[in-house]
Point group: C2
Chain length 304, copies 2
């Protein structure tokens, strides 16, 4: 069971070597991450994009392009389609966003002929290693689905639980979060949290334990949970997955962690036939490499 | 201008000595905070509650009751009414929750004869001193108003701006937050953020600068804000006040900071004729003392 990003890297090194296909690869921060991922034995890469520009950046960052396959396609949309088709055709294991806008990147993922559709809705998961928590935390959805319906939340849980399983957590604890830990009919997300908990008990959501609604302290702080007397709960400060009521709550917590702490993190897009990596420009190289590692682990699990 | 809790404590010491009236004071964590606040010269206190039990706890924590006024009222509701009336009658400057449920405590605040009503709606503000931010951050509303309407948000801003002014910030920057920094008609909170910004430009919300919608990185991280090219914005990673779209987003961010970091914080209830302190059982003594200090500063400003 991977309890830290160091564990995840060890888990990656035990897998068969994975290959990431980069859409519109002529981006310095992305190539820096690809270079580091290669050096650490995390993943090989196929770089699809403007070869001239890729060469220029590679020279700048002392990256030996002989170690990588480069496919010249200066047109942005065509480069994305080519890059995603390599994953679709199993010539690569993961798909990564280069210097292309998110909308066009997602369009390539959803392409009916060469994309990564599975019929399942896509969702995003951000994985964090916090200082005072002895296991990884999976935050979802902090970037993709604005106002998830109950059905969306079921799918988000299923997508995220697959990622947990890939990371070696056989039965992750999923906490549907709210400001409060009791059901309040005036707060839709607390009602839905209870419904999700019941669906889990009745076997409609499997491979995990769902217990909500939960406030964040009861979800992640065992001391606070015990202090408040969390009787009859299956999660007592030991949640693995934090399910947010909507994208505002999720994104604000995510950015709070990224911009006020130094905790390690990485994220991927799930619900696709192969994991997709769409990091933000402001993510550190370390975060991008963590995301590639996470994608490699999920790719390994999907391949089994 | 107070930029840290140390600054706030210095500011308190420069004020005339304030007195806090504690409702149902027979609570060990609350008395520990009251004792420490007295020792540090932050505030004196009147302890209203079960005198026998107060004496027992005082003995336990080595607290000299000769330093405090104690009013014996074993009945919980009566003790709250007595304690709040002391503030109402200006015999104390701030009102603090002891071992009484939040609902009854709020009921005493809203009491028409002896309470602290002003006609303004109440709201909550949490103040944080973050490691990599060189000024205090005012988070609102993370605990009181579940789904604030536009009108509620105007009032929340007004209440919070008063607290900022009391802390010596003449023109705080207020960021109405969302997951995104652009107006999206499908996301009500982004539309309201724009309206609040316009109301500020048109002079309907004064004493501050409002600029939203803003994502959290653009609000608090100058580097990220510049990286993303925040042109035409008045807030570039230098927000003082973070206005949350709803209580779930606010409370989850607040608890994320409290339970995953060691950043100093304190909070008070505002919109009352005198500041009210209702800390949570899981708050540290330090946090409770910070809240008393913050209340003292606001009491000083309200008294002018």
């Amino acid at each position: 069971m991977s309890k830290s990003f160091d564990d995840l890297l060890k888990q990656v090194n035990a897998c068969s070597k994975k290959k990431v296909s980069v859409a519109v690869a002529q981006d310095k921060p992305v190539l820096e991450a690809i270079k580091l991922a290669k050096e650490r034995g995390i993943a090989d890469a196929i770089l699809v994009g403007d070869e001239e520009k890729i060469k220029e950046i590679a020279a700048e960052i002392d990256m030996n392009l002989a170690d990588f396959e480069v496919i010249n396609e200066p047109d942005v949309q065509e480069a994305a389609l080519k890059a995603v088709s390599l994953v679709h055709d199993k010539k690569a294991d993961m798909y990564m966003k280069g210097i292309i806008d998110t909308k066009s990147f997602l369009k390539s993922i959803l392409n009916k002929e060469v994309g990564l559709r599975t019929g399942k809705p896509l969702s995003h998961v951000a994985v964090f290693e916090l200082e005072n928590i002895d296991h990884l935390l999976f935050l979802t959805d902090v970037a993709f689905i604005p106002y998830p319906s109950l059905e969306d939340k079921v799918n988000i849980i299923r997508n995220t639980v697959e990622v947990c399983h890939a990371c070696g957590l056989p039965n992750p604890k999923v906490a549907p979060l709210a400001a409060v830990e009791v059901v309040n009919p005036k707060m839709e997300c607390t009602v839905e949290a209870e419904t999700l908990t019941n669906m889990n008990r009745e076997g409609e959501i499997t491979g995990c334990i769902v217990d909500g609604p939960l406030s964040l302290d009861l979800a992640i702080d065992p001391e606070a949970a015990q202090h408040k007397g969390a009787t009859g709960r299956t999660i007592v400060g030991d949640a693995d997955v934090l399910l947010f009521p909507d994208i505002h709550a999720g994104n604000l917590v995510y950015k709070c962690l990224v911009h006020t702490t130094k905790f390690k993190n990485g994220c991927i897009l799930t619900g696709t036939s192969a994991p997709a990596i769409l990091t933000s420009r402001s993510d550190s190289t370390e975060t991008k490499v963590n995301s590639i590692a996470l994608a490699a682990i999920v790719a390994e699990a999907l391949g089994k």
